[in-house]
Symmetry: C2
Subunit: 333 residues, 2 copies
DNA sequence: CGCTGCCCATGAAAGGTTTCACGTCCTGGC
DNA sequence: GCCAGGACGTGAAACCTTTCATGGGCAGCG
């Protein structure tokens, strides 16, 4: 590689205009395909611009138009494999529309979320896709004024993309009941997340209908289990457990194994999310699949619509979920 | 949430200045802590600014200063669990320095990489952290002029952050040899990546010294194995295989299992990277750990230095790697 | 008491772009 | 052969900030 010339300064529009022998305005119109420019002139300007390697200065453009061409993506935790796939699709979809994405990871903490969002807004994003950490929190305020679509939570006033969590919870419960399980435990996600509550509530009411809910505990979206959870597991009262996330399911399976029991023979487990590990795990995890890619794409689409039509009524899109039956559930005779 | 007021227009510096009864210049100086402003005036201006909820317009600032406060992070594939951890640390470290990060995923394709980089540069980043897909490719050109640090590859002319791949390869081989293995196969990463070549070469030469290299094939950084690779595995000539990445190792173990064999009893496997799955897998994967977090932090640090001191000679930092012995290697009597 | 010099504070330019309002020239209709 | 109007092109303002060059006032020194 050549050593970087210290001043390969990029050509400015003014220079292009001069080189092409036209006015600044014409150059701008030609390059943006707006205004009225004769066919020949336009081509000439374009040619000159190409020769000079002209690249519009986005900062200047942003200053005039107020649009930066960037969107923000606020995610709780990249370390949870659920999110990278989401991020990947958002990034690709955004790029397809000419947007770059600012990604931020809020480390599961509300202050970090706040700092992150602040920084993002200061840096000027045209819109935000937000996967909230909790249902409340200070962040909503900050985002006000920036077109936003919310993932996972049904926050009032925002465009929302969700999966049918209640249905997922029900599906999981019914799968276990149909497999002959009666004594069922539930490890749901954090209290603060309404989506976690929905999964749990639906599962619980389905369990209660035809079976027996032996316990219900909470855990963060993490492999590491809280004492409350390990205690529940160690009570050995449940032959099957429904978890609020695959990560929790895997953590639970790990703990169950460490107790000297085997999944699914001694305890059955069902997850939620269908992260990539789910099928790689031994035993492969029975779980609820949600169409992450579709949801991510829908989020971008919704955001793009929202950015150009701020007045429209909010929309809420709910995606169907599906139970994927693998090897972590035992079918009792 | 209240319906978004359509025009909560953010206060401008001019407005702050007027409200505070000072000049534009004083306001700017006060807020940036530069120039000379009397203590009392400064405080007053700051107070007024806070009241008005003033937030500097970064686009305008960027236009003046040429600094956007954003850095770009170019990663091959978020779906490979190696990268999210990297991204997470980069994002956090960058934020700690007041930078937002544009993340882009190049989907493993060189054109996508090029498009992504273009978009990023257009959107104006002050610096780039780049994990190249291949050693060559057109992208280097684009990046010219933007301070850049390169991860993983020793690209001439750039600041470089690497791990000691050769040592990793050697460690893996010696571990297997010490465990009594003689016939060893190698599945290395893609040809195009010099880091993959280094790992493989070191492993191969160590194997050859005291054992027997039965085959050497290549595979993308993916769970899915190419025909060449499955054929090698099916030849059953190796009692142990060294892989260029944990993802490949896991793919290989899956295939080995599907052949009716068991890891490590029939075939031993060692990975590279120590991604989170490695220890969750059954059997837990013996692998080479590289300090991703440290490397990510070092990359940000190097970039920050480079951005403020463009002239300095390039630096190359090489991190040590370490073999983590788990359950995927059988110790022969 | 006058002057030098410092501390504060200010006006104005500059940075690259978009876009409004306007002018010129040519075409076509009558 | 005239005029209306369209097509094409242009000058200049505006976006919001940073920063240079400048100026006023006051303290302290000689």
């Amino acid at each position: 590689m050549a050593k970087s010339e210290d001043l390969p300064r990029r050509a400015t529009l003014k220079e292009v205009a001069k080189a092409a022998g036209v006015s600044l305005a014409s150059a701008s119109y030609a390059i943006n395909g707006a205004g009225s420019v004769g066919e020949a002139t336009r081509e000439h300007i374009l040619k000159v611009a190409a020769e000079l390697g002209y690249r519009p200065n986005q900062s200047a453009k942003a200053m005039k138009t107020g649009k930066t061409g960037a969107i923000g993506l606020i995610l709780p935790d990249l370390t949870n494999p659920f999110f990278p796939s989401l991020a990947q699709v958002v990034i690709q979809a955004a790029r397809a529309h000419g947007y770059s994405v600012f990604l931020t990871d809020t480390e599961g903490s509300a202050e970090a979320e706040e700092r992150a969002v602040n920084l993002m807004i200061d840096h000027g994003v045209d819109g935000v896709i937000w996967f909230p950490i909790a249902d409340d929190g200070p962040v909503g305020k900050l985002i006000e004024g920036v077109p936003t679509v919310v993932l996972d939570r049904n926050l009032p006033g925002y465009d929302v993309i969700q999966a049918d969590y209640a249905d997922g919870g029900r599906l999981a419960a019914e799968h276990l009941l149909a497999a002959g399980h009666v004594n069922i435990g539930v490890i749901s996600g954090p209290h603060a997340a309404s989506s976690a509550r929905q999964r749990a509530e639906a599962a619980i009411s389905a369990v209660r209908e035809r079976g027996n809910l032996v316990w219900h505990v909470h855990n963060a979206y993490s492999l590491d289990l809280e004492p409350e959870v390990t205690k529940a597991l160690e009570s050995r009262t449940a032959t099957a457990v429904i978890t609020g996330a695959d990560l929790i399911a895997i953590g639970a399976m790990r703990h169950i194994r460490s107790m000297g029991l085997v999944v699914p023979d001694d305890v059955s487990v069902v997850g939620f999310d269908d992260i990539p590990w789910a099928q790689l795990h031994t035993p492969a995890l029975t779980t609820i699949d949600m169409p992450v890619e579709d949801m991510a794409a829908a989020a971008v689409e919704a955001l793009i619509r929202r950015m150009s039509a701020r007045g429209e009524p909010r929309r809420r899109v709910v995606f169907n979920v599906e139970l994927i039956s693998r090897d972590s559930v035992r079918f009792l005779a």
